[in-house]
Amino acid sequence: MTQDRRSLLKTVAAAAMTPALGAGLSALPGRARAQSNTIKIGVLNDQSGVYRETSGPTSVACVRQAVKEMAPPGTTVEVVVADHQNKPDVGATIARQWLDQDGVDVIVDVPNSSVALAVNTVVREKNKVYLNSGAATTELTGGQCTPNTIHWTYDTYMLARSTGGAMVKAGGDSWFFITADYTFGHSLERDTSNFVKQAGGKVLGSVRHPLQSTDFSSYLLQAQSSRAKVIGLANAGTDTINCVKQAAEFGVTRRGTKLAVLLMFIGDVHALGLKTAQGLVCTESFYWDLNDRTRSFLSRVKGAVGDNYPNMDHAGCYASVLHYLKAVKDMGVGAAKASGKDAVARMKAMPTDDDCFGAGKIREDGRKLCPVYLFEVKSPEESKAPWDYYKVLQTTPADEAFRPLGEGGCSLVRT
């Protein structure tokens, strides 16, 4: 009894203190007690491989920022981090250990679709919360949707629709694709072609290259000789970067042809340099320089992210954790910890509002809806500040940007 009173007192004291100090104090009571009052967030992403820049430590910094801003009073919020090495088995093992033994309540980020889907199953099994920001697969809100999962930032449908459809509206009505020869590339090409045709554009042809090629000049020349107005790059990572670099070398865009990159983050633009990347067209749902709110977000995290400005994946980590913590505050820590399903249901019931994505909502299939932007990369002359890279070409409103609810085949959707 005294033990209980003491810990109660401490919790009250903690609530009255500054959050940081409170965090230290409320961690003092016995282990079982502390756990019931502690929310543990696990950031699971690529800390050492090809997605280190697009997710990695910057995602962690953004999650910590959300915790700083929204930790419920009297509650300790801990953030733990692990590297899934882009291997589904490693990802699933870490997730299982976190949820079974380490008392983790929420798993955040998880780029790389195959790892994302593996973790999806584990989180559902353990009835915890899964806030995915980094993966592209629409399966998370389609055939494999779960009541424990929210897919926050982007997916292949939204990329294809924005880059394919909006680009045609902006004048790019004939396309040629350079496609990575595996499932991801094929489906991105297929989806984008559909939107191009829907919007009244034409697809003149495509060429498929093996994954991890070094030289793309041959494909670029083939694309150029098709006289398409837009060359769509349905590949990712270093394949894309090599493509763009060599397109600049061959002067492909000099005669007005646009290069549309179907999956690119602002960090890739940084890696290419504006001289090479200028004129590229790509889609993201967040950019730090969109409005006062996004700029204010950047100024808050800037100290923690160093020279890797947040992209949409990072922003999604921040915003999803912020919204989760709001829901926890609303329903109480105990209830939120007891059932991940209930916590996610509460998140879906509450409208979302944050500095990165503005006001929005989460659909019953777990899809977070937000406006989607088609950007063009600025020329070196237009860029006035560090990371001043994008200008907005088109905005797709939140309710049109994502796959319609009925088409995904998610079992949570009542028809």
Binding site: G49, R52, E53, Y219, G251
Partner: protein, 295 residues
């Protein structure tokens, strides 16, 4: 019929030209491998990582010290070559008495470590590196295609470098010592030649060749930690097809396979990364010592 042929030619010629550029990289890299294997009997799996280091050293010089492309083309190979000498002295030299496999495993491990360190330090999305002003102009019209000036330079530089290496090994006294030392090290040593030092320097030179190719590659390929591992497997195939340790063989095969690959990219692009290995399998069946190797 003739029209059809002309049309094929029109598509084919630019690809032949582009294939030559890729061939230049294959040739330079396999040249370094051939030199090292020929003289040291070590299969240098760290070659890709050393190629990557060349590109990164050039990038570091430019962005940290303001040293441009031309000095980097000389300095980066020297620096990476010196690193190679260090590796040979401290580790690789201990394995000469053992089976090839040990050298392969050691250098493979080294490659993984070097790549890991660079990835940790510089991330994996790569660094921008612009071609030098003199070669960065608009593409030149070759009649059948527009070719960036820089790519033409790559072919020239690779040819010159291959020729120089071949001359040094086949036509100079130093080369004669080297070849003699491969045949019978003890005897050459008995004549008063410092064989261990010569072998160390040979390894350094092979590594420097890889770094030279790395600097050449920096303006056209993405400068990232895994850039070498993407290329090195193909280069090994080139060396095997050309005949392990044959200098002339690796240069000719390098350019030749670049061409074949270039043409595949037009007629059946999906197979472009496989075609070299198909050729390798055929060559191994028909001539196990390689096209230019001595059995």
């Amino acid at each position: 019929m003739l029209e059809d042929l002309l049309f094929q030619l029109q598509i084919g010629l630019p690809q032949v030209a582009l294939g030559l550029v890729n061939g230049a990289f294959y040739a330079l890299l396999s040249l370094g491998l051939a030199v090292i294997f020929g003289m040291l009997n070590v299969i240098n799996f760290a070659h890709g990582a050393q190629f990557m280091m060349g590109a990164f050293v050039a990038w570091m010089m430019l962005s940290w010290l303001g040293i441009g492309y031309w000095p980097a083309l000389i300095l980066a190979p020297l620096i990476v070559g010196a690193f190679g000498v260090l590796l040979e002295k401290t580790m690789i030299s201990r394995l000469y008495k053992l089976d090839h496999l040990y050298g392969l495993l050691l250098t493979f491990g080294l490659a993984l470590i070097i790549e890991g360190v660079f990835r940790n330090q510089f991330g994996s999305s790569g660094m921008p590196y612009a071609p030098p002003a003199a070669l960065g102009g608009p593409p030149v019209d070759l009649g059948f295609m527009f070719m960036p000036v820089y790519r033409l330079w790559v072919v020239v530089a690779a040819l010159v470098m291959s020729l120089v290496t071949w001359l040094v090994i086949e036509k100079t006294r130093l080369g004669a010592y080297l070849r003699a030392a491969t045949e019978n090290a003890a005897l050459v040593q008995a004549f008063g030649v410092n064989v261990p030092r010569m072998i160390t320097l040979t390894y350094g030179a092979g590594v420097a060749l890889a770094a030279f190719a790395g600097v050449l590659a920096a303006p056209i390929y993405s400068v990232n930690p895994q850039m070498g591992s993407n290329l090195i497997i193909v280069v090994f195939a080139v060396v095997v097809i050309g005949g392990m340790g044959s200098i002339l063989g690796s240069v000719l095969t390098g350019f030749g396979l670049g061409l074949v690959e270039g043409l595949t990219k037009v007629f059946y692009p999906e197979a472009s990364s496989t075609v070299i290995f198909v050729i390798m399998a055929i060559v191994l069946l028909a001539r196990p010592a390689g096209l230019f190797g001595r059995a």
